[in-house]
Amino acid sequence: MKQRRFFHGVAACAVLFVLAAAAPAREPVGSIEDVRKLEKQIAGVAEKAMKATVALISEATGASGSGVVASADGLILTAAHVIEGVEEVEVVFPDGKQVKGKVLGANLSKDIGLVQIDDEKEKGPWPFMERGESKPLKAGDWVIAMGHSTGFDPARTPPVRFGRVVSDGPGNFMTTDCTLIGGDSGGPLFDLEGKIVGINSSIGEALKNNNHAGVDGFKDDWDRLIAGEVWGELQMNPLRNQERPVMGINFGPSVRGGGVVVSAVRGPAAKAGIRPGDVILTLDGTVVRNGANMQVLLAKRQAGDKVKVGGLRSGKAFEAEVELKQMNELR
């Protein structure tokens, strides 16, 4: 028993070490000195990010959103719903400088899109912010959101908002308590190093419910976005998102006391050896109450993630590892 505990301890240390190394943003704040350090980082990011946080205004629709310049030659990351249905946008920098932008591609399911500054008179280099990674972000990571709230206002710089990730997922999305409002859509979310980690997407009623698309979505879809392809579907319900991660299981009745019966399998679940009639009890160690509960648990993951499924087959325990796929990639 003692031996086991020891190994658990080592494992926990290893996990903590990995987390600390991957995400310096999750440093605990235990004293006023820690808060001072945090303040310095926020102020630094805000000042630098200001110049690259642009308003995107469509003269055709009158819609106004935000974006962030992510390269010296003027590639702008934004939200798909900001540029949906337009080919050209006015790009306005916080100092009022205005240039033309050409809309490239957009993935509506991830709510991400690209705009290229393309102006006859003004050529770069443009002030820009670097892209970071969104996948390692977890609840408690400090973040800074910016955007031209309620539209471009020459009397004001784009407001800075500080907060933390309160929930990662569903899918490529995450939720923070940096409060957003109309006009912020498409604006950047930064980590404390000033790397772009997300794009402002939508809000719910609660002040803690501000949703951002993870910046990793751009990496996954880069070639299609650059090529100007527009695809996917805007969907507020994560359980209906075309790109939600799935195993390829049709659920039968739930089992009393937890678990759900598999009625049909295809795709990744079939590949992993799960069979109709199996009873699924756990997903990565979490007890599965029923089919709906399983869907919610899966919605928080991303396609490509591997999950451990535990269950019963003909009364005997079994385990399988399933690599999740996007719903729309299931055949």
Binding site: V35, M50, Q98, V166, G169, I181, A206
Partner: protein, 409 residues
């Protein structure tokens, strides 16, 4: 010490519960995430508590009866001067019937009378009898910089809110906007901005600008779009003179125009969806716009927690929180502005009630833009009834606008 923050969290969750009828605060939030975030909030408040410690003694509750349903704490106040004066948010106590009481965190109680009102700032100056509190130190007038932490103190140990400076100090008052007096052609192509018309008696008319002229630069800054024009002008205030280079009949010319105050208001109603978003998850201050100098922060201040002192991480007084403006914004009047204000004579409260009935301006139009002749002297009871009716009306209007928008789509 810790209990304070638990109470705060409990309040926050109760409030959130009242708003979110359609399920949990954040759908799909895992229990371990909720726990981590909650633990972090407590840690964070524990860490910043020492900074707000001094300001706690300078923060008071203002108790009065504004509804006819008995006395309750309606707003916070900030102790100034020799400790027998308090500044607080005027619109929250303007309808007070009967006495106003001031209660400190230590329970010391004083009676207060309204000595005067600063209308543009929505601040009331109270004079106290019966107790003396520790005043804030007005010596540090340097405003906090972008991204700095600001902490709103409360009369008890736990700060009312904490946030960062979202936008540095600026004026929200309409008459502080420079007005040139030109209507511009939105369809103009090419260099500059083309004038469609010139307002009578405006700086543009006096400078000899006319329809058809193409403005090339303002104050030495090239302008090639309506937004660039607006931005170029936003760098100037009323009364300033600005050089304008323009093109007329193929030749370039230069003129100097005096910028004027914007007198007439053309309130722009934000669309219904935005109005809905402004209110999401929060209760807004009645007067929340038109201030002559405010720092914008992302603090999530409750409406009845405004009026108190705000400090930086060193505990220095940086201003008074004046309004919860919407989902994303709370405003602070900076120390420098307060020092300057206190050197001027406030308006007598009787005059202030007559001049500005405290109503939520529909559409959030700045209070300064409300026509003064519409204000009427009213009995306190009537005013409260009127206010409730207007709030109902506003809600109804909002619903109608939403439905109209639905039809439009």
């Amino acid at each position: 010490m810790k209990t304070g923050s638990f109470v705060l969290l409990l309040q926050a969750s109760l409030l959130a519960g009242a708003h979110a009828q359609r399920g949990p605060e954040v759908p799909l939030m895992r229990p371990e995430e909720a726990e981590a975030v909650q633990r972090q909030t407590i840690e964070f408040f524990d860490a910043i508590r020492p900074a707000s410690q001094r300001a706690v003694a300078s923060t008071v509750w203002i108790w009065t009866d504004t509804t006819g349903r008995g006395k309750k704490p309606v707003i916070y106040g900030t102790v100034i001067g020799d400790g027998t004066e308090v500044i607080t948010k005027w619109s929250e106590i303007a309808m007070a019937r009967g006495p106003i009481l001031v209660v400190g965190g230590d329970g010391k109680t004083a009676t207060a009378t309204v000595k005067g009102v600063y209308q543009d700032e929505d601040l009331a100056l109270l004079s106290l009898k019966g107790a003396r509190y520790r005043p804030v130190d007005l010596a540090h007038v340097e405003a906090p910089k972008l991204g700095s932490f600001v902490i709103a103190a409360s009369p008890d140990d736990t700060p009312a809110s904490v946030g960062v400076v979202a936008v540095e100090a600026r004026s929200l008052r309409e008459k502080d906007q420079a007005f040139l007096g030109v209507r511009l052609d939105p369809d103009h192509q090419g260099t500059g901005v083309r004038i469609l018309g010139v307002e009578e008696a405006s700086g543009a008319e006096e400078a000899g600008l006319a329809e058809g002229d193409v403005i090339l630069s303002v104050g030495g800054r090239e302008v090639n779009s309506l937004i660039e024009m607006r931005t170029a002008l936003s760098g100037f205030g009323p009364g300033q003179r600005v050089a304008i280079r323009y093109q007329r009949d193929g030749a370039q010319a230069e003129a100097e125009a005096e910028l004027k105050e914007k007198t007439e208001s053309f309130p722009q109603f934000p669309n219904a969806r935005l109005r809905q978003m402004e209110r999401m998850g929060t209760s807004l201050s009645l007067v929340r716009d038109g201030f002559p100098s405010v720092i914008q922060t992302d603090m999530q201040l409750e409406r009845d927690h405004c009026g108190g002192p705000v400090v930086d991480l060193d505990g220095r007084f940086v201003g008074v929180s004046i309004a919860r403006a919407d989902r994303t914004r709370s405003f602070i009047i900076p120390t420098a502005a307060i020092v300057k204000l206190l050197e001027t004579e406030p308006v007598a409260p009787e005059l202030a009630v007559r001049q500005r009935v405290v109503l939520p301006p529909p559409g959030g139009a700045p209070p300064g833009a409300m026509p003064r002749q519409r204000s009427v002297p009213v009995q306190p009871g009537q005013a409260e009834a009127l206010r409730r009716h207007l709030e109902d009306m506003e809600r109804l209007m909002e619903r109608m606008r939403r439905e109209m928008e639905g039809i439009g789509e």
